[in-house]
Amino acid sequence: MVLSVRGLAKRFGVFAAVEDVSFEVSAGEVLGLLGANGAGKTTTVDCILGLLEPDAGAVTICGLAPRAARAKFGAVLQATGLPDKITPREALNVFAVLHAAPQDALLERFGLTQKADAHYDTLSGGQKQRLALALAFVGDPPLLVLDEPTAGLDIQARRSLHDDIRATRSGGRAVLLTTHDAAEAQALCDRIVVIAGGRIAAIGTPDALAAGGALEDRVAELMR
């Protein structure tokens, strides 16, 4: 088991953002965390990565607590960026030093060779997202956490990123993917956790959740 989440709960004042959330992700599996905006997906991810301290529950990554497991995961999060004037080559070099791991070939693998020395603020949205994914791969971690990685991307960039995620799974890594797009979850995920109002509404394979119908309709029903 690469990622284990047990009875996770997080409150902000009187507001319960996440309550009693439990799931696991295995090696070679893409698990989707599917829910509407404000459903609690990002709070769950922040607790998993140690950015927020949960009020209850336990998270382990490769058997370690999140803060001790920083070398075991890579993450592409919402609301993260890089300094405007850093170049992709510099960013990868710095992250490689911080992970004490090589980053050879990541520029090429994520199609950033031609923009290797361009400043971050001159990159397109898709290029920035590919760089974020490349940075998540530094250190070759067993778990990738992707929080709505395709948000704001055009169709071409989105397809390219989907290919990267599939390649990641076939490489034997575990992937936790949050999305509010049922079609994206169905296309990429082995299992889906539907989260609504901070609680797990359903969990299963895309086919089992769709139950012969359209997954989007079923999810919309669960979120009501």
Partner: protein, 457 residues
């Protein structure tokens, strides 16, 4: 390369790619320098007496605006949220940023000093003490910058909070406006601002004794308290709410230092107590001989003086204005006050001619020692004229020689009777005045004997 070195290098590279950072970090300090040079162009030695102020302003700008602006800007864009997910320890990122900022401040100050040298400013008298004072100032203000960065959520708020600290410190904190020129209440208030201690420590190293233990301790404690407060307030993400009670730790130290300074018996402007040598440095050893009284002094004794070894008249130590040099009109009221008060000044009329001469020389020595800028080089002209009026011409050279070679004799009580001239009452070590008395005695003697000729320009 180590992770820390990599982060320092990255921070430096990113800074130099940012035009606004270059503007604020390097151009503004140079503009301040030129402004000070223009404002105080009548100083005998350009800029030297304002170096502490200039460097403090540079460090304040870089540490209390530049540092938090960078940190808050990156936090707003989620850069720190990304950094914190790497396996590197969190302190590494802060250390990298602080070291890079220190290097930037150091380079800005060195550039400022280089330009000041081009304006004929001499190098700081105590370079090691100057470096120590700069370092203490930089870390004190960087720690304050970190507190600002942790308190605010966005870059405009950095400017607002930074100005709340920056402006009072400039105006009533003894940074942009010299402490001695501030009213009493503002001088007392300045004790509670860190800028005062930065200016005093740096100025002491630039033109003073180079010893400022209280000021250095104050800066170190301010840095420590602000560092603890910043650690308590620390947040990687603007969504996290800091516990603002930690600010009390930083501000509490400002108050504690201010109270301590108010209680200090020697809380007064910096005295220039640098070593200017002894009479033996200016009198030929072979020619000097033991004399019992000023009456035994001969022409040969006076001829043994190496007048060319005396500090230059246009320097910081024992300056004397040229005969054809007119003081700035703003100085005239004080100089006229001194000139008018000299004939009636009791210590300048005592019966003993040696003590009388000593007392009058003190009137020149005190402004020099207390760095009463601009005025100090015109006072010796008034004193020399008064001495020539009240001491017989035959006796004056011998008395001056006697005082110059016996500076520790006689009474210094007159030093506390200078209020009538509008001069400060220096409560420092009594023997601090003797070397300056000695130098002015030599300088007047040089003029009387024709060994020092000050030709009009």
């Amino acid at each position: 390369m180590s992770a820390l070195a990599t982060l320092v290098l990255l921070n430096l590279k990113l800074n130099f790619r940012n035009r606004m950072a270059i503007l604020y970090g390097y151009l503004f300090p140079l503009i301040f320098l030129v402004a000070f040079w223009a404002l105080y162009r009548n100083d005998p030695v350009p800029l030297a007496l304002h170096l502490g102020q200039l460097v403090t302003i540079t460090v304040l700008g870089g540490a209390c605006f530049g540092l938090p602006t960078t940190l808050v800007g990156e936090r707003e864009r989620g850069v720190w949220r990304r950094y914190v997910l790497t396996p590197a320890p969190r302190w590494l990122f802060i250390a990298g940023m602080l070291i890079a900022r220190y290097v930037l401040l150091l380079s800005a100050v060195l550039l400022q000093i280089a330009l000041a040298l081009a304006f004929a400013m001499p190098l700081p008298a105590h370079p090691v003490a100057f470096f120590a004072a700069f370092t203490a100032t930089a870390f004190a203000f960087m720690a304050i910058g970190l507190v600002i960065a942790m308190l605010v959520d966005n870059v405009p708020a950095v400017q607002a909070l930074g100005q709340c600290i920056f402006l009072p410190m400039l105006i009533i904190g003894g940074v942009a406006v010299r402490l001695e020129t501030l009213p009493g209440w503002a001088q007392a208030a300045s004790s509670f601002f860190p800028g005062r201690y930065a200016v005093a420590a740096l100025q002491s190293a630039a033109t003073g004794s180079g010893r400022a233990p209280f000021e250095l301790l104050a800066l170190a404690l301010i840095a420590l308290a602000a560092g603890i407060a910043a650690a308590g307030l620390f947040r990687w993400d603007r969504q996290l709410r800091p516990n603002r009670a930690w600010v009390v730790v930083a501000l509490g130290m400002w108050v504690a230092i201010g109270v301590l300074n108010q209680l200090r018996p020697l809380s007064r402007p910096v005295m220039d107590t640098r070593n200017v040598g002894t009479a033996a440095d200016y009198v030929s050893r072979a020619a000097s001989r033991a004399t019992q009284s000023w009456r035994d002094v001969t022409e040969a004794d006076i001829a043994s003086i190496a007048f060319d070894r005396l500090p230059p008249d246009d320097g910081i130590v024992s300056p004397v204005a040229r005969p054809d040099e007119d003081p700035d009109p703003v100085l005239l009221p004080q100089l006229e006050r001194i000139q008018a008060a000299l004939p009636g000044w009791a210590p300048g009329n005592v019966i003993d001619p040696v003590q009388r001469t000593r007392n009058l020389l003190l009137v020149a020595a005190v402004p020099d020692l207390m760095q009463v800028e601009q005025v100090e080089r015109f006072v010796p002209r008034l004193v020399f004229a008064r001495l020539q009026a009240v001491i017989p011409p035959r006796d004056l050279p011998r008395i001056l020689y006697w005082i110059a070679t016996h500076p520790g004799e006689g009474s210094d009580a007159a030093v506390h009777e200078l209020a009538g001239f509008g001069l400060p009452d220096p409560n420092g070590p009594g023997n601090a005045f003797h070397p300056r008395e000695m130098l002015y005695a030599f300088k007047l003697l040089g003029r009387l004997s024709g060994n020092i000729v000050t030709a009009p320009r």
